[in-house]
Symmetry: C2
Subunit: 172 residues, 2 copies
């Protein structure tokens, strides 16, 4: 229900239409959710059917008509519940990049090390991007700081793994 929490949270601050929501999520919240357009419209339909949000047909100039969504009192109650659950809980993080690590013995040690150095560069690029991101308004700033903290920790760990692999290889 994380995506629902996100959409409700945004609609709670102001009524918006689908495209507007999408744009905001992609520009401000890209660091914590990956929400594609069809998924967003799907969720909006579902939440409207559940009575969490309502909409009216809006028109602006000659543009095609669009639905402007608003949160309902039931939606606000759901938002409050989901928010509390989210803040109190913890969902363990899975690193899909660890699968390769588990099978790295299938390659010559030197090649694994070379590939992991490529990975290190990729991580560094993400870190630079997050570090130099323009300040985001409100709570989104925290998300960027979290991402930076995490990427620093990842880089540290990756360096350690590479070092250990080099030492193990040298000893053979």
């Amino acid at each position: 229900m994380e995506r629902e929490l996100l959409l409700l949270g945004l609609l709670r601050e102001q009524g918006m239409h689908g495209y507007q929501l999408l744009e905001f999520v992609e520009s401000q919240m890209a660091f914590c959710v990956d929400l594609k357009k069809p998924t967003a419209y799907f969720l909006l339909d579902k939440m409207a059917a559940s009575g969490w949000i309502s909409f009216e047909q809006g028109q602006e100039g000659n543009r095609p008509p669009r639905r402007v969504y608003h949160i309902t009192p039931e939606g606000e109650a759901v938002f409050q519940r989901l928010l509390r659950e989210n803040l109190a809980g913890y969902a363990p993080t899975r690193f899909v990049t660890d699968i390769g690590l588990a099978f790295s013995h299938a390659l010559p040690a030197q090649e694994s090390i070379r590939l992991l150095n490529e990975r290190r560069i990729a991580v560094k690029e993400h870190l630079d991007a997050a570090s130099t991101a323009p300040p985001h308004p409100g709570g989104a700033q925290l998300i960027i700081e979290h991402q930076v903290h995490h990427l620093v920790s990842e880089l540290q760990w990756l360096n350690d793994v590479i070092l250990r692999m080099q030492m193990a290889d040298a000893h053979l």
Copy 2:
């Protein structure tokens, strides 16, 4: 393609039937992938159709017949490609738990802090579980170490966030 990489990597070491694969993944690789039963069978079917793996009908005692899967030469080639891609690349981590943080201003500061303290306990429990996990064979050990490293970093960050919230609240 991470799950495919995982299944190919396991079948590469020895032929196995679906249930056996599932069990191994859930017991040894639970820290890095979440693979449900129907998904695993779906992927096995798909990979068999693509010619990456083959199977023969096996029977053991009176047990129901089952498919024992083996990797094919094409599958081995795919495995090598996926492994290199995985080792060299980096997929940014999304923390769904950050969504709540972005909206924490919707609750009284004291309640947010209380809820985040609950989260801290949950993180600590995961950390204790990962720290005391019995040694896993081969590459899986690295995954646990990564998880521990990550959880320590998360705990640090969470403490920092809670502290900052308390200070901000005290200043009002």
